[in-house]
């Protein structure tokens, strides 16, 4: 009884996964005998396992759960979707787990551009060729922020200062993570240089910035809106201005060709049949247009949009090229 109450927030999800468990159980009973028959049947023939390469609770995890629940609620796929968290090893553990199952669309990954960074930094034995892209269901962009009392009000002033006195400002980044790459892309483009200080999470970056131990840091737009009372944002890395931050210019507007839109990227193993990928992408396409999902995205400074598998892969390859240029300067 008690346990049930502890998880009341997840009650709906729990009920859903009870269904999955029953389905899995039933499948297990029929098991080996019907296995060959199943593969010839239509997709999906059993619950779909969605691997999230992070611990529960982050953005990627929440979005995966929301969309999976929505697809199940509306019955856009004949089977349930179960989210499984496989953290660690810069995603290598998740990829290994994915490759252990058959490449038939019943095991997929929900990730973001951390995958590209892992590939650019050569972490783990995987690359883009190991995946078939299902598509992006929206995404979000970060801002670059300084302390409220900083002597710069615009990105130009900051860059001018850095060009006058190179390496005079400290940027809080996790080396080899998204904040580092985005900052380095802008630095390469604009021709300035900062000093770094290690900060592994948004909370660390905020602490260093507020405590005066760093001057610049990157924050997800939602983080900035929620916790950035004593900060000011200088530039937004999205393609267009964010409605919640109408006064913050984009980097492109300021003449720097740097955008960073971190997508919610759905991926299947490379050998997955097209029919399965199509079934998944049509369900995801419908989910991202659902009013409830759209509202959640808008409230969390994420942009809801659908980009199909091939376009997403092309976008990813382009971004990877940029990232590899930056990675070359790191390693």
């Amino acid at each position: 009884m008690l346990i049930r109450y502890c998880f009341c927030g997840f009650w709906r999800a729990a009920r859903a996964s009870a269904l999955i468990a029953m389905a899995v159980g039933a499948f297990g009973l029929v098991g080996p005998i019907s296995l060959s028959a199943v593969s010839a049947q239509e997709f999906p023939s059993k619950p779909i396992k969605v691997i999230v390469p992070f611990k529960p609770g982050g953005r990627t995890d929440v979005v995966a759960r929301l969309i999976s629940e929505k697809i199940q609620e509306k019955g856009w796929l004949d089977e349930a979707m179960a989210v499984v968290n496989v953290d660690g090893g810069a995603g290598a553990n998740a990829v290994n787990q994915m490759q252990r199952d058959a490449a038939d669309g019943h095991t997929i990954i929900h990730w973001h551009h951390q995958l590209l960074i892992a590939a650019a930094m050569d972490l783990g034995n995987f690359g883009l060729d190991d995946f078939k892209s299902i598509g992006y269901t929206g995404g979000g962009s970060p801002v670059w922020a300084v302390r409220e009392d900083a002597p710069f009000d615009t990105l130009e002033e900051l860059i001018a200062h850095l060009k006058e006195e190179p390496r005079s400002l400290v940027e809080a980044v996790g080396i080899g993570t998204i904040p580092h790459f985005v900052g380095a892309m802008l630095a390469n483009e604009a021709g300035f240089e900062t000093r770094y200080v290690t900060a592994n999470s948004g909370a660390d970056r905020l602490r260093l910035l507020l405590g005066g131990n760093a001057d610049i840091a990157l924050f997800a737009a939602s983080e900035f809106l929620a916790q950035g009372q004593e900060l000011k944002a200088l530039v937004y890395f999205g393609r267009e201005r964010l409605p919640d931050l109408p006064d913050v210019p984009t980097a492109t507007e300021l003449g720097y060709d740097v955008t960073w839109a971190n997508p919610n990227w759905w991926l299947a193993p490379a050998g997955t049949p097209d029919a399965a990928v199509d079934a998944l992408s049509s369900a995801l396409d419908k989910a991202i247009a659902d009013p409830e999902i759209v509202e959640y995205f808008r409230n969390n400074t994420l942009e809801p949009y659908w980009m199909d598998g091939e376009a997403a892969m092309e976008d990813a390859r382009k971004t990877l090229d940029q990232l590899e240029d930056v990675a070359a300067t790191i390693q």
Partner: protein, 167 residues
Amino acid sequence: MANLRGQNREMAADLILSGLVAFAAAVLLYGAASLPPPRFDPLGSAALPRALGVLMLIFSAIIAVRALTRRKLPDDDEGWVVPNEEEPRAASPVRGLLIFVALVAYVAALDFARAPFVPATTVMMAVSGLVLHRVDWRTGLLFGAIGLGLALGLSYVFTHFLYVDLR
């Protein structure tokens, strides 16, 4: 007599420890040798592994030298820890070893043989009862039953509430 044996045992333990630590230090230093030079900070990735490797070598040497030169046990060692008087009387390392073997077999069955969780756990519990309690069929049955209940409960909670697939 007993004291002397204890001394010898401790000396042997210290020498083995010293050897293992030296080996670990060698692995560490070998691994550190292939790390890239510093890039963002003057220390780089290899500094700490090297420092730890060297420290481990030093400690390993100190322990070996002490073990070989020491004549008398220091009696102030862990002065305030409660002495466990019954320890040597009926200790049975075999039971510990058997439990360990059972544990490894259990995990290997789950991992490599992909044995289903519930039967494997039932067997594991029965075995642990036989090893730890006494060897007769009633103990085996009783502990097997406890194991079955435990396994069913765990797999229910984990698959239903925690999204962990115990299989």
